[in-house]
């Protein structure tokens, strides 16, 4: 499958105390993500995808089990893996340039140059001194991606990154992401409810079951790149994944 394991999610369980008892969210998850692999996780809404992502990225501790990155157990978030969420977290009080500089060490002599370089990479050249509220939703996403990439993370954790965008912009951002990832390889963990997006982007797709969630099925996506989501093979895969999610489609 892959040679080097980047992320190892090992027997992770997680639940939350509720007013009327206990909510079991993650039953028993165990999977590996290879170095430079792009893994998409799809699942029904409310199945605990975001909880899982927060555990893997280090924002949340599992009840039992562990997450290992490069063989080292996780004990908190760090800049080795940057999280990108649906809501986004570009700082509205900083300009585009200041946002890109945020994660870079003050002592780094190349920081200004790096910021400019990554602004250009995501197509934000000329907007460096704009504030986020002056930008569109798609451009804001670019800022977020650039801010993540500029610190040279090894892993990107993407939790429904393009869900808040309209369909056209979402597709455009997917293509952008692929273009950027072709330039610099990263290990990517993507959570999405959009099966087509998963088929478009991922090397492997894990389908999660409803809560308490476990891995219900896994698909290797062997389609050549650049992919056409409308191709028969891609559609076949999409139908198969949707079937796992309990959606049957008359073709």
């Amino acid at each position: 499958m892959f040679i080097n394991t980047k992320i190892h999610v090992q027997n992770v369980r997680k639940g939350f105390a509720k007013d009327d008892g206990y909510l079991d969210v993650i039953a028993d998850l165990d999977f590996k993500v290879g170095d430079s692999e792009f893994v998409a996780i799809v699942g029904p809404s409310g199945c605990g995808k975001t909880t899982l992502m927060n555990i893997i990225a280090g924002f949340l501790a599992p009840d039992s089990g562990s997450v290992q990155v490069d063989g080292v157990p996780r004990d908190g978030p760090n800049r080795k893996g940057i999280m990108i969420t649906q809501q986004g977290s570009v700082f509205p009080w900083l300009t585009v340039r200041e946002n890109l500089l945020f994660g870079l060490d003050e002592g780094n002599p190349e920081r200004e140059q790096l910021a400019a370089e990554y602004a250009e990479l995501v197509g934000l050249k000329g907007f460096e001194n704009n504030y986020p509220h002056e930008l569109s939703g798609g451009m804001l996403k670019r800022v977020e991606i650039a801010r993540a990439l500029v610190v040279k993370p090894e892993i990107l954790y993407m939790d429904e990154p393009f869900s808040a965008l309209d369909a056209l912009m979402s597709l455009r951002m997917q293509n952008e992401l692929l273009r950027i990832l072709a330039k610099e390889r990263h290990t990517v963990l993507l959570i999405t409810h959009d099966v087509e997006e998963a088929v478009h982007l991922a090397d492997r797709i894990l389908v999660l079951s409803p809560r308490p969630t476990r891995i219900q099925a896994a698909f290797d996506v062997v389609l050549p790149r650049p992919r056409r989501v409308s191709s028969p093979e891609a559609q076949e895969l999409r139908v198969a994944i949707l079937k796992e999610l309990g959606v049957t489609e008359s073709v």
Binding site: A57, F59, G76, P77, N78, R79, I82, M83, T85, Q87, G88, S89, F91, P92, W93, L94, E98, F102, G103, E106, Y131, P132, H133, V151
Partner: protein
């Protein structure tokens, strides 16, 4: 042009108020209550001999000093209380008790502690404006959205940078709201304080005009000047809200 069109209704209301005032005074043949024109001439008289500027300067100085000290005190304290839970639960009850006490109630104690010089009104202004600013700053820190703190945590920036680049700028819009409230209260209080024990300032001018021969034209002149300066002070604070790095909070 658009500005003129927008402010036309309010100008009409002001003109109507002045007209009603004028007509009423003339009709009732009041000997004490002045007409608008008498107020204007009275104001010009004071402006000419320079006392008006002295009073305005004295009031502004006291507000500037009291409010300035309050800002220096409230912002660090509010940030600390917002960030450190222990500081909040320890100090918040005290401030919640002190906050509803009218600054006017502090006047006797202020005189006892600071005498009748400038220090008394400065202390009263400090007391009046410090609490709203502490509260707003604390609320500002408490309402920083978690996604921003998470992002900062994700990039693992040092503590100083976290404060400089995230906590403070995220709170700044609320701090400015607090400063607006604080300065508004400060201006209210300086006039009240000057009515008690001082020999200068707009509050003193009003009381002195009444006591020294029922010069109600100057009483009303003082009131109008206080109103206009208050408006101008609020306008200056509103300019702060226009800063690009805080506008994110006010747009939408």
């Amino acid at each position: 042009m658009k500005l003129l069109k927008q402010s036309l209704p309010s100008i009409c209301v002001l003109a109507a108020v002045v007209a009603i005032w004028w007509i009423t005074v003339v009709l009732t043949e009041s000997v004490i209550f002045p007409t608008p024109w008498q107020v204007v001439t009275g104001t010009l008289e004071l402006a000419k001999d320079g006392t008006l500027w002295e009073h305005i300067g004295a009031s502004l100085f006291r507000v500037g000093a009291g409010f300035g000290i309050a800002v220096l005190f409230a912002i660090p304290l509010g940030l600390w209380m917002g960030w450190v839970h222990g500081a909040f639960v320890t100090l918040n009850p005290l401030f919640q008790i002190l906050r509803p006490i009218s600054p006017i109630a502090w006047i006797p104690i202020a005189i006892l502690w600071f005498g009748v010089g400038n220090a008394s009104p400065i202390y009263l202004i400090f007391i009046a404006s410090v609490f709203p600013m502490i509260v707003q700053t604390t609320v500002g820190v408490h309402t920083i959205e978690k996604r921003f703190l998470r992002a900062a945590e994700n990039f693992g920036v040092p503590r100083g940078k976290l404060f400089r680049r995230v906590v403070f700028p995220a709170t700044l819009p609320q701090i400015i709201v607090g400063m607006r409230i604080g300065l508004g209260v400060a201006w209210l209080v300086v006039v009240a304080a000057e009515m008690i024990a001082l020999r200068s300032g707009l509050g003193y001018m009003i009381i002195d005009s009444r006591n020294a021969g029922n010069r109600y034209d100057l009483v009303i002149a003082g009131m109008i000047i206080i109103g206009l300066i208050g408006l101008a002070l609020d306008g200056i604070m509103r300019l702060l809200e226009g800063m690009k790095s805080v506008r994110w909070r006010y747009v939408h």
